[in-house]
């Protein structure tokens, strides 16, 4: 071990070195520091923005905050349409690398064919949707499989718990959550939410650790309360379904309106569809016949002719008109009655639905007066319902009416209306001459009506309608146990290729209880094929069932004694 040597006596230090060497070393060090500080200044002062941006790109993310679509509920708050989170399963086909049994499992979870799945994964794309709107629970199990290249994305799925019963009212959305039909379409703006966004900092594990700024709050869609009562809606649609099946008809439609508020309590069509499963959807199923179809109403228009004649003082309810011999010739045309009645009162004309009698009343009226009544009742104008595709129907300008056209229009031919227009027009009889605006959104206050007829006229016609729905009328089968009903049948030939054919539209429009009307029910059966085609045989029983169920559901007290109903074996046939 060497002996310690004092520093001052170290031999090396004795060597005299040239002075420039130390100065050189100092210079090198000074230059080094200078370069470092220059770099620091450059980074801090000149390139800060760029660097901060780069830093942000690495840790900050903008996250979209999804907004949910509003619910659609009925008048009692029962859900008709709601959105629940679901997952879209997508794949990068090139990245998918999984053993066969895993793919079999995946196909089973997705309820897909294995071949179909493999075909999708074989596509030459960098992005493929395997399946959309997969339920959250299934998506979790797919994620647990951990197949590389299979990814999940958040989205929403719309559920329609009432299914077929409310399909035509509510409509449906597509996979992108955009309304396609019904209220989903017409109220898209209101129902759709507006997604928000926020800027966040994530740590290396991907957890959100900080939020930058306040971000944009998402705005959820508003809920929509319809005037529909699901119970009455269900009763209506099952009555309609049974009627269409029983009479082997092509289609049917029915609508129930609250007389006090103008709310549509039920609106039903058959055939219908399940909005939750729309794979084999046809146009006939989608069609909303209550609103988008017009038809020649036939005899359901007769009460309006009688009302106008009464209103203008041309006739009294008890005035007599000779309808013999059941024929009336106007120019080259002849109008027929189904039976020959002889002399009838105005009341009986409506009760028995005599074409000749109605035309004789109409001949005392001016075309303009009839046109004005039709227009003030809302015929020829689209109803303001906030619903897509509601049609106006057709009432031709009165200046061009020929006498025969005026005559046929008085009993509902040569004019086309929709079922909802007809139901609304009958509110003038149900409400003492007041026409009410209809709504399909929930309204709590009674609707302000527009006076169209004098109350006495409306009451007189109501009495006639009650007779028409009685044992001597054309629709004894419209009677309901415990309630007085008023209404009118309609049986109209259908027009095809410009001529009338032996196909019919049977309809019935009426209201109950007649003493203090609460609901208006309009039923239309398209092409009944079971041997019966009269409104009184086909549509009136459906009316009775719907109106009776609706009144019981609304807890309306009966206004008639409950006894066995008198339904004659061979009721009066109306004139077609």
């Amino acid at each position: 071990m060497a002996r310690p040597v004092k520093l001052s006596s170290n031999a090396l230090l004795k060597t005299k070195l040239p002075a420039w060497r130390s100065r050189f070393a100092l210079g090198v060090l000074a230059f080094g520091f200078l370069a470092l500080s220059a770099r620091a200044v450059y980074l801090q002062a000149w390139t800060t923005d760029y660097l901060q941006r780069q830093g942000a790109v690495r840790v900050e993310r903008t996250l979209e905050v999804p907004a949910t679509r509003g619910k659609i509920v009925d008048r009692t708050g029962a859900v008709l349409a709601t959105s629940l989170p679901a997952k879209a399963v997508w794949a990068i086909p090139d990245d998918v690398d999984a053993p066969r049994e895993q793919l079999v499992q995946l196909a089973k979870l997705l309820e897909m064919d294995r071949q179909e799945l493999e075909r999708k994964l074989a596509e030459d794309k960098s992005f493929v949707y395997v399946k959309r709107q997969v339920d959250a629970a299934v998506a979790e199990r797919i994620a647990a499989l951990g197949i590389p290249g299979i990814h999940l994305r958040n989205e929403y799925k719309r559920h329609y718990p009432e299914g077929e019963a409310t399909a035509h009212v509510v409509g449906f959305t597509n996979v992108e959550d955009v309304g396609q039909e019904g209220f989903e379409l017409s109220q898209q703006q209101r129902l759709a939410g507006k997604p928000g966004s926020r800027r966040v900092v994530r740590d290396n594990l991907g957890r959100v650790i900080e939020q930058k700024g306040s971000g944009i709050e998402p705005r959820d869609g508003q809920d929509l309360s319809l005037s529909i009562d699901t119970r009455i809606q269900y009763l209506t649609s099952s009555a309609l379904r049974d009627t269409v099946r029983e009479h082997r008809a092509r289609a049917g439609a029915a609508v129930v309106v609250d007389v006090r508020t103008g709310e549509v309590l039920a609106l039903s069509n058959w055939p219908t569809y399940n909005p939750n499963n729309r794979q084999q959807l046809t146009g006939a199923q989608l069609r909303n016949r209550v609103l988008t179809d017009t038809f020649e109403p036939g005899s359901t228009m007769k009460p309006f002719t009688a009302a106008l004649a009464l209103e203008l003082g041309k006739v009294k309810p008890t005035s007599t008109i000779d309808t013999a011999p059941g024929r009336l010739t106007i120019g080259p045309h002849t109008i027929h009655d189904a039976h020959t009645y002889g002399t009838l009162t105005v009341e009986q004309i409506v009760q028995k639905s005599s074409n000749v009698g109605t035309v004789k009343m109409a001949q005392q009226l001016q075309p303009q007066q009839m046109w004005e009544l039709y227009t003030s009742l809302g015929f020829g104008q689209p109803p303001h319902l906030g619903f897509p595709g509601a049609v106006a129907g057709r009432v031709r300008p009165h200046r061009n009416w020929k006498p025969i056209e005026q005559a046929t229009m008085s009993y509902g031919h040569g004019i086309s209306v929709s079922l909802i227009q007809l139901a609304r027009a009958y509110s003038v009889f149900a409400r003492d001459g007041e026409l009410i605006p209809l709504t399909m959104l929930r309204a709590d206050e009674p609707a302000p009506g527009v006076s169209v007829l004098r109350p006495e006229t409306a009451r007189a016609v109501r009495r006639m309608l009650e007779m028409a729905a009685g044992p001597q009328g054309t629709a004894p089968q419209a009677q309901i146990a415990g309630y007085r009903v008023a209404g009118k049948t309609g049986t109209a030939h259908k027009q095809e290729n410009g001529g009338y054919v032996n196909k019919y539209i049977a309809s019935f429009v009426g209201f109950a209880p007649a003493s203090n009307p609460r609901v208006i029910v309009a039923v239309m059966i398209d092409e009944p094929g079971g041997g019966q085609h009269y409104g009184g045989q086909v549509a009136a029983p459906a009316f009775a069932r719907i109106a009776g169920d609706a009144l019981r559901a609304l807890k309306v007290a009966p206004d008639a004694p409950f006894t066995t109903l008198i339904v004659p074996a061979d009721p009066v046939k109306e004139s077609v």
């Binding site: 299914g163 004894p476 007290a557 004694p561």
Partner: protein
């Protein structure tokens, strides 16, 4: 001079430590907030699911079928129903006499 430096140095250190802890606190609270918000969203979804389930289980077609088939129930008829007015008195329902000639029949009383 040296004392002042020492004081400033210790203050600097203190501030630095406080900054670290408050940042940590902020992140912890933020994570709690996130968790609570996520819980709120989950609860909302759950509420919707339950609402949907309620409607599905209370579907009128199901109730109707169960009532008719399993419970053998029948729709109510007015002759077996006692109608009450809001005041609590039974509503007089016209009795006797056949239906069918309603015009001119007894005037109904006491409808709601």
């Amino acid at each position: 001079m040296a004392k002042l430096n020492a004081l400033l140095l210790s203050m600097l250190l203190l501030c630095a430590l406080l900054l670290v802890t408050s940042q940590h606190q902020a992140r912890k609270l933020f994570i709690d907030l996130e968790r609570a918000q996520a819980q709120a969203r989950r609860s909302e979804v759950q509420w919707k699911e339950l609402q949907l389930q309620q409607t599905q289980l209370a579907k009128h077609s199901l109730i109707d079928a169960a009532a008719r088939r399993e419970l053998k129930m029948q729709p109510v008829t007015p002759d077996r129903t006692l109608y009450m007015s809001p005041a609590g008195a039974p509503v007089a329902v016209p009795t006797a006499g056949p239906t069918g000639s309603p015009p001119g029949g007894p005037a109904p009383k006491g409808t709601r």
